[in-house]
């Protein structure tokens, strides 16, 4: 290797001392804690804006004059959109690590389960329940994933949009996990109808409330309303109700250990996304300038989406009586979910 063109014969840190030769931290943003985390370093300010630091302003606009990212892409307001940091601190490497771990686990569960004939041991009624109702549910997860893909375009900062992006990635992965899980166990179960889920989703009265709630979120233009409605309202009232309150609890009782394992990953995903969402919404409800009006706004979002979610949940009730073995009643599951919802709202100073 030839000597470098450097005047000091090396391009390495410390080879010379001069002004800022030891300036080895990004110095254009305030870290949340004393030291910037790796997540902050690779995330903060990558999406710029006229406050940070577009001195030329946005240089292309939509025909109505709005730039690439505007504060009014949501009705919520903030005196500092830049303050939010996602508690899960996710960046590309941690995202792939986590997603890949889940995929490996899910595939191992399915492969090992099928190898040992686990799906043959399902209670017959349980098999039918999965075929139709888990089959229908995968579309709900997919719809939410698509809504979040839409929403990750709208936020005012990189931190908000990346948290929304990973949330979308988790949901879409889950919808495909369920799809392939059902298709694969269906290969071993005589008379399995893999289309029954979609038909149920589109036509069965039990699922129409859920579909309406999901379509309403998909049809919403305000990215923050989408993010709020999914994580703070729909998930506790319908998502967890069905995943935890039904699939997880009924699986084991009906000789099925595979379904709870496939679904367990989703509960982990939600814990993280919920933590992200609560932090963001908390900041906005406690904003010194806009806190009060944000609370009014969020209260109206909570009302609108919880009315739809409540209706969805009530319509799902008959599913709890389908399997033979019934470890919990719908009312019990619903009570847990109600309590969870109230607690979540309480954390961000809202109420039912």
């Amino acid at each position: 290797m030839v000597a470098t063109s450097s005047s000091v014969g090396s391009g390495a840190a410390g080879a010379a001392i001069f002004a800022d030769s030891e300036s080895r931290k990004y110095r254009y943003f305030e870290p949340r804690a004393k030291r910037a985390t790796h997540y902050e370093d690779v995330t903060v300010d990558v999406q710029p804006d006229p406050e940070r630091y577009l001195i030329q302003d946005w240089i292309i606009s939509f025909p109505d004059g709005r730039g690439a990212y505007e504060k009014n892409f949501t009705k919520a307001q903030s005196s500092n959109w830049h303050a939010f940091r996602a508690p899960d601190q996710e960046w590309e490497r941690t995202h792939y690590q986590r997603q890949s771990r889940i995929e490996v686990m899910v595939q191992a569960v399915i492969a090992n389960g099928r190898k040992s004939g686990a799906q043959m041991a399902f209670d017959a009624a349980w098999g039918k329940t999965l075929q139709k109702h888990l089959g229908a549910w995968k579309h709900a997860e997919f719809g939410l994933g698509c809504a979040l893909m839409q929403a990750q375009r709208g936020g005012y900062t990189q931190m908000i949009n990346n948290a929304t992006l990973t949330n979308s990635s988790y949901k879409l992965r889950l919808s495909q996990d369920i799809t392939l899980y059902l298709a694969e166990i269906g290969m071993d179960i005589a008379g399995w109808d893999d289309e029954a889920g979609k038909t149920g989703w589109l036509e069965d009265p039990m699922w129409q409330g859920t579909r309406e709630a999901v379509e309403t979120i998909m049809g919403t233009e305000d990215y923050l309303e989408q993010y709020f409605a999914i994580n703070l309202v729909f998930e506790p009232l319908v998502g967890e109700l069905f995943r935890s309150g039904f699939l997880m609890q009924f699986g084991a009782a009906n000789n099925d250990f595979m379904t709870p394992s496939v679904i367990a990953a989703a509960e982990g995903d939600y814990e993280r996304n919920l933590a992200n969402a609560i932090d963001l919404i908390w900041l906005l409800t406690h904003d010194e300038k806009f806190g009060a009006q944000n609370r009014t706004l969020f209260q109206s979002w909570a009302q609108k989406h919880s009315a739809l979610a409540d209706k969805a949940a009530r319509q799902l009730q008959p599913i709890w009586s389908k399997p033979h073995s019934k470890p919990v009643s719908f009312e019990e599951a619903r009570a847990v979910s109600e309590e969870r919802f109230a607690k979540i709202l309480g954390e961000v100073s809202l109420s039912r």
């Binding site: 470098t4 080895r24 990004y26 903060v44 240089i59 995929e103 595939q107 839409q150 579909r211 233009e221």
Partner: protein, 555 residues
């Protein structure tokens, strides 16, 4: 060769990839309670569902990407263990301050743009492709931020890396990169997120970005950039597939043809103007390797853009009735080979060094020889300029930007690409919203005035974007002292006086320029000046501008 393992013997038959893909696409449905909002509208009408050419599901995606990541991060560790920075060429790494300030924003914009394309066409066949691209681009953006942080931590002069994203929003050079990135996410959803981003930027230009750059990096002792960028490039075929599929669905409606022609023309020309300016400069001027057997940027352009893209991607579109702008491709080629586009940009960046945030070193005799070999006639046009630049690199000299002895004339900006109008004879002045604007070429005027408008050739185009903002960077500091502008830009080291940019690679305080060395020169906006002229003066000025300038001999 496969080995038989117990696992394989007892393995259950999984579902086929084709089946898996079909079932995942079938997750979508037509909403009947609430219609999806068209938050990001387009003037294109797509009624046929695009097909997924890639047959992919997420199940295998994440672990494949994790594995790629492991290789990248492993290589970064290995580079440090191998003491890469001892032998790295600072001339090269300095340009990475510019490149890596720009690129994470276009990358994340590409992720955001998936929101815009995913609702344009019926069906959900491409949803998995869009999901992967969204997460891929999130990967690209943050892996590049990580690489930059790594340079900052290990390279001899971290200044410039340490203010990177702030500098991106402010610098007179990064403005070009913002035009590129904003182009992916603003205006007509199909124009920006499919045609400009995928059909042109990713399909035609990512090879120069992500393959040519890495080879040059390696020649300069930088093994980190190749690892990261070749890994990034390995995701691109997926993205190219998405764009092609969506465009083919759009092609099925004859009324989209005019828009496809418009967007191919705009996107090709602007990508050429921006990418060739930036990447051409990095590769030709950021290197110390002057091996005459290696391909020049022009030679690579011919292979990747002309042969691969123009001949095998664009030309076949003619059979669908799309008018291809053959002349523009030839014009771009001639700008690079005959009109010294890249060299003039390299020269412009050098002239503006005090308002940059990295170091630009002078080209020397060894470089001259290579340039002359690859671009005959280069020395006559640029040799003296670089000698001047070397001479004026010592603090205390009159800064080259304002040094009349040199003979350089500061250029006008192109209102369309934001790259300066360096090929002086091609500059065009046009009117937009009743005001004069300067354009680097007639096609740039066409882009700003005719393409980015609410009507195109008599056809209403209500979704089309507009060029906006304070597009001419120079307007911001019109009449401001150079030193005050640098303070305002925050391109000052933390001692409060030494400049972050330097016109040399001497790592010693006594050789470094400070605010005092550049004070006393007033920046000006060529556009404001032009608008302020009476007609006769303006005519004379433009005629003069078209004639170009001559660099005085430097002894």
């Amino acid at each position: 060769m496969s080995t038989l393992t117990l696992n394989k013997i007892t393995a259950q038959k999984g579902i086929s990839v084709a089946d898996a893909t079909r079932k995942c696409a079938d997750l979508g449905w037509n909403p009947s309670y609430v219609r999806e909002a068209m938050t990001y509208p387009s003037d294109y009408k797509i009624t046929k569902a695009p097909r997924d050419p890639m047959k992919q599901v997420l199940r295998s995606y994440f672990s494949m990407q994790e594995e790629k990541d492991n290789r990248v991060y492993g290589a970064l560790d290995a580079a440090l263990r191998g003491d890469m920075f001892r032998n790295v060429e600072p001339r090269w790494v300095e340009w990475m301050k510019l490149f890596l300030a720009i690129i994470p924003f276009p990358e994340i914009s590409a992720a955001r743009s998936m929101a815009m394309v995913s609702r344009l066409a019926p069906g959900e066949d491409l949803r998995t492709g869009f999901t992967m691209q969204m997460v891929d681009e999130f990967r690209h953006s943050t892996i590049q931020m990580n690489l930059k942080k790594w340079y900052m931590e290990n390279y001899i002069d971290p200044a410039g890396f340490d203010i990177t994203e702030e500098a991106f929003g402010k610098c007179y050079a990064t403005t070009i990169g913002r035009q590129f990135g904003e182009g992916f996410i603003t205006g007509d959803a199909m124009t920006s997120a499919c045609m400009y981003l995928t059909v042109v930027a990713e399909t035609a230009f990512t090879n120069t970005l992500f393959v040519a750059m890495p080879s040059e990096a390696a020649r300069n002792g930088d093994y980190a950039l190749p690892t990261v960028f070749l890994s990034v490039q390995s995701d691109e075929s997926r993205h190219i597939g998405n764009g092609h599929s969506l465009m083919m669905a759009a092609l099925k409606e004859p009324e989209n043809h005019l828009l496809i022609e418009r967007d191919m023309k705009y996107a090709f020309w602007q990508n050429h103007a921006i990418v060739d300016a930036a990447i051409g400069t990095f590769i030709e001027y950021g290197t110390t390797d002057r091996d005459k057997n290696k391909e020049s940027y022009a030679e690579m352009w011919h292979r990747w853009v002309y042969e691969d893209y123009y001949r095998t991607y664009m030309l076949p579109m003619e059979k669908y009735g799309i008018k291809i702008h053959h002349d523009d491709v030839t014009l771009a080629w001639e700008r690079i080979t005959k009109k010294n586009y890249v060299h003039k940009i390299g020269q412009f960046f050098a002239v503006g060094w005090p308002v940059n945030f990295w170091r630009i070193e002078a080209q020397t005799e060894k470089d001259f020889e290579w340039f002359e070999h690859k671009y005959p006639g280069w020395y006559a046009e640029f040799g003296d300029f670089w000698k001047w630049y070397a001479k004026l690199s010592k603090p205390g000299q009159k800064v080259i930007t304002f040094n009349e002895e040199v003979g350089y004339v500061y250029p006008h900006r192109c209102w369309s690409s934001l790259v300066p109008c360096v090929i002086r004879e091609d500059m065009v002045v046009g009117e937009l919203n009743g005001q004069l604007h300067t354009f680097a070429h007639e096609i740039d005027r066409w882009t700003a005035v005719e393409a980015f408008a609410d009507e195109f050739q008599g056809r209403p185009t209500p979704a089309m974007g507009r060029f906006s903002g304070k597009r001419e960077w120079e307007t911001l500091y019109d009449g401001v002292d150079l030193a005050d502008a640098i303070v305002d830009l925050n391109f000052v080291r933390s001692d409060g006086k030494t400049l972050i940019p330097q016109p040399h690679l001497r790592f010693d305080d006594k050789d470094m320029w400070t605010l005092d060395h550049v004070r006393g020169h007033t920046l000006g906006s060529p556009l404001n000046a032009l608008r302020g002229m009476d007609e006769a003066t303006r005519k004379a000025h433009l005629a003069d501008y078209a004639k170009g300038f001559t660099i005085n001999p430097c002894n």
